[in-house]
């Protein structure tokens, strides 16, 4: 898992068995106290003066890297804030309480998860009003991934929250790979040019990083695929929603291109959120606004907003060929007799959706594809098996014969 939900960090790799947890907790408390004391002294001596103004005095505690605990599940939670990293992050001008509302008591009680649609006390330069991600959050809740607007969508625990995808690694001192992160192409020269006029270096760096991040894709193809498949390859989770797990993308040539680092190699968003669509408003493929809705596919394959042209001469027939959809649904229909016999959880919904969405032609295509695969498996195994057996027998026979002849010659 990349990230926790909410504002603090979870490290599931640091899990303990429940038996040892109590002992560990005592030890940790002791170590915690000792280190806390030492660092407190050190912090006074080496306090960094360039940090962002901390008007709420949160850093009085949160500046210490060991500040954290193990939660009920044995996950390590770190409450450390590196004030310099934070000041350089896109949220650096915000005060802690702008997002972490209702934290007036120490020690904190009833800590709520951060709600990204909160109005923060920072002015949006375009409208000069209080800024908020509310717009985005509302649009997102209407999308297929969202919690639903009005009537809630099912299984809220499965639905990705803002921070599931927007892992702001700046706040994570362990995952953070330098100030420039993974965007190696960020140009210090360009930044220097900005700083020519915008003399506040921290501000300029921050705005520059924000723009350049927004102008390019934050994740490469491999990372996008990892992010999407972190849910979409989970069969059980998908079944609950009447979806099939993505299993066959990695059989496609698109994936091969990704593996060989081809520039603009197609990943999930290339086709599912092409140019002109946004991630936050993604809809099911049965919806006419979806880029993979049948009628829209030619455009998606051939010419995305005049910018990305992968298969410029794509025809309807071309676009109808499904890229990686021979998953569970087609399989269910193809061997229906077997499928009705077993009762896996959520199968009725999946089966109903399969009947609704998959045409007889597609089932036929799937069968042809399976036959071809099977025939080749048999052919390869058969030919290679036969050849190996022949070779072994031949080798053994020839050796025997040579021995015999050598004996004759000796006499």
């Amino acid at each position: 898992m990349r990230l926790s939900r909410g504002d603090d960090m979870v490290y599931p790799d640091f899990q303990f068995h429940s038996a040892t947890r109590g002992m560990v907790a005592v030890f940790l408390k002791l170590i915690f106290l000792a280190v806390f004391g030492l660092l407190f002294l050190a912090g006074i001596v080496f306090a960094q003066t360039e940090a962002a103004p901390d008007e709420e005095n949160c850093l009085i505690c949160h500046r210490y890297p060991v500040l954290g605990r193990y939660d009920e599940n044995g996950n390590r939670r770190v409450y450390y804030i590196n004030d310099q990293l934070y000041a350089n992050s896109v949220h650096g001008k915000l005060r802690c309480k702008s997002c972490h509302v209702d934290l007036d008591k120490i020690p904190h009680e009833n800590v709520k998860k951060v709600d990204c649609s909160t109005q923060c006390h920072i002015k949006d330069p375009s409208s000069n009003r209080e800024f908020s991600h509310k717009n985005m959050v509302q649009k997102y809740q209407h999308s297929v991934h969202g919690m639903g607007a009005g009537e809630p969508n099912g299984f809220p625990e499965d639905r990705p929250t803002c921070t599931y995808c927007h892992g702001n690694e700046t706040y994570n001192p362990y995952a953070y790979a330098g100030f420039w992160g993974k965007s190696e192409e960020l140009s210090r020269e360009t930044l220097a040019r900005c700083q020519g006029c915008h003399t506040d270096k921290t501000w300029t760096k921050k705005i520059y990083a924000h723009f350049t991040h927004r102008m390019r894709r934050r994740r490469n193809q491999d990372e996008i695929i990892k992010l999407c498949t972190s849910c979409h390859e989970d069969e059980k989770k998908m079944e609950r929603h009447g979806l099939e797990a993505v299993s066959t993308f990695k059989d496609t040539f698109h994936w091969t291109l990704v593996k060989y680092d081809v520039q603009n190699a197609p990943d999930c968003i290339t086709c599912h959120i092409p140019v002109g669509y946004t991630t936050h408003e993604i809809q099911p493929r049965t919806d006419p606004v979806s880029p993979v809705y049948k009628e829209n596919r030619i455009k998606t394959c051939s010419n995305q907003g005049g910018i990305q042209t992968c298969h410029p001469a794509a025809t309807m027939k071309f676009a109808e060929g499904r890229v990686h959809a021979y998953g569970t649904k087609v399989q269910l229909l193809a061997d229906e007799d077997v499928a009705t016999a077993k009762t896996r959880e959520g199968e009725p919904l999946l089966m109903a959706r399969a009947r609704e969405e998959i045409s007889a032609e597609e089932v036929f295509h799937y069968k042809v594809l399976s036959w071809i695969s099977l025939i080749y498996k048999i052919l390869i195994a058969g030919v290679i098996g036969f050849m190996s057996v022949h070779q072994l027998l031949d080798f053994r026979r020839t050796r025997k014969k040579n021995k015999k002849e050598a004996n004759h010659g000796g006499k």
Partner: protein
């Protein structure tokens, strides 16, 4: 161009013509294009493995290797076309023309002529396979006596026809996927991908296991049979592999008195043969 003597005698040893210069050139083009195609294709099938990405990088990576692959593929397809023309022409000159002279170029006569060609599988091949099984399982000491082309060689020869048709057509579909899907359903691209890569794997394994074993690693030719370069086979191997044809050629060329005994019974007569300059040493 060197004249193609059926039997060449050099230093008292006889060498037997197997492949003409034309055929050898065709084989070299076939072999080199297939090796290039396998090298530039397999890393795509086995992407994600270390050897594949390393090998692919050596061959120019994703920006160059596909071009090499396509150039080699075009050469191979042209060779396939040339070979079909070559076969037709030879068949016309050697079979149809004589038939015309006799005045009976009927369908039955032509079919018979086709079946008579030494490369076409026939009943003897089935007998040979059964005899070979007997030999391999120690039921007999006699190896089947090969004709001009043994069933193994026929298998080797026929396989590329199937391979080129399957891999070639699926490759063309993927190359011109926009054009192909004007006529065929879009699913054809998925079919083509599977056929192309699985058939290629089959072909590669076949070539490297079977063909290379027979011409390189088999105990009688190790480390390498040179016939694909020189076009001539030694008398020893000729007796071993193609005894029937050997007798036929020796008789035709006037060497009736020097015919060696068949492979199974060569040992007892060995001393006599040595005096006559047999290649066995």
């Amino acid at each position: 161009m060197a004249q193609n003597y059926i039997i060449k005698v050099k230093d008292g040893k006889k060498y037997f013509l197997r492949f003409t210069v034309n055929q050898r050139l065709q084989h070299i083009i076939l072999a080199s294009t297939v090796i290039i195609l396998v090298l530039t294709g397999m890393p795509l099938k086995f992407h994600g493995t270390l050897w594949a990405s390393y090998l692919y990088e050596q061959l120019g990576g994703i920006s160059l290797a596909p071009i090499i692959h396509r150039v080699a593929a075009v050469i191979l397809l042209l060779l396939g076309g040339y070979h079909l023309g070559y076969l037709t022409y030879n068949f016309y000159v050697e079979e149809i023309v004589p038939l015309r002279k006799n005045g009976k170029p009927g369908l039955i006569a032509i079919t018979k002529a086709v079946l008579r060609q030494p490369i076409i599988p026939n009943l003897k091949d089935i007998r040979d396979i059964l005899d070979l099984l007997k030999y391999l399982f120690f039921l007999t000491d006699k190896k089947p006596l090969g004709a001009k082309y043994t069933w193994k060689e026929k298998f080797d020869y026929m396989a590329p026809f199937w391979g080129i048709v399957m891999i070639g057509s699926s490759g063309i579909v993927m190359w011109g996927q926009d054009l192909a899907t004007k006529i065929l359903p879009g699913e054809i691209i998925s079919f083509a991908l599977i056929v192309h890569s699985d058939e290629a794997l089959l072909a590669a394994l076949f070539l490297f296991f079977w063909h290379w074993y027979n011409v390189h690693f088999s105990t009688s030719v190790f480390p390498m049979g040179t016939v694909f370069l020189t076009g001539y086979l030694t008398e020893e191997l000729m007796v071993e592999e193609h005894y029937e044809y050997y007798v036929e050629v020796m008789t035709k060329e006037g060497f009736e008195n020097e015919i060696l005994p068949p492979p199974g019974v060569s040992a007892p007569h060995a001393p006599e043969n040595h005096e006559e300059g047999s290649p066995i040493s």
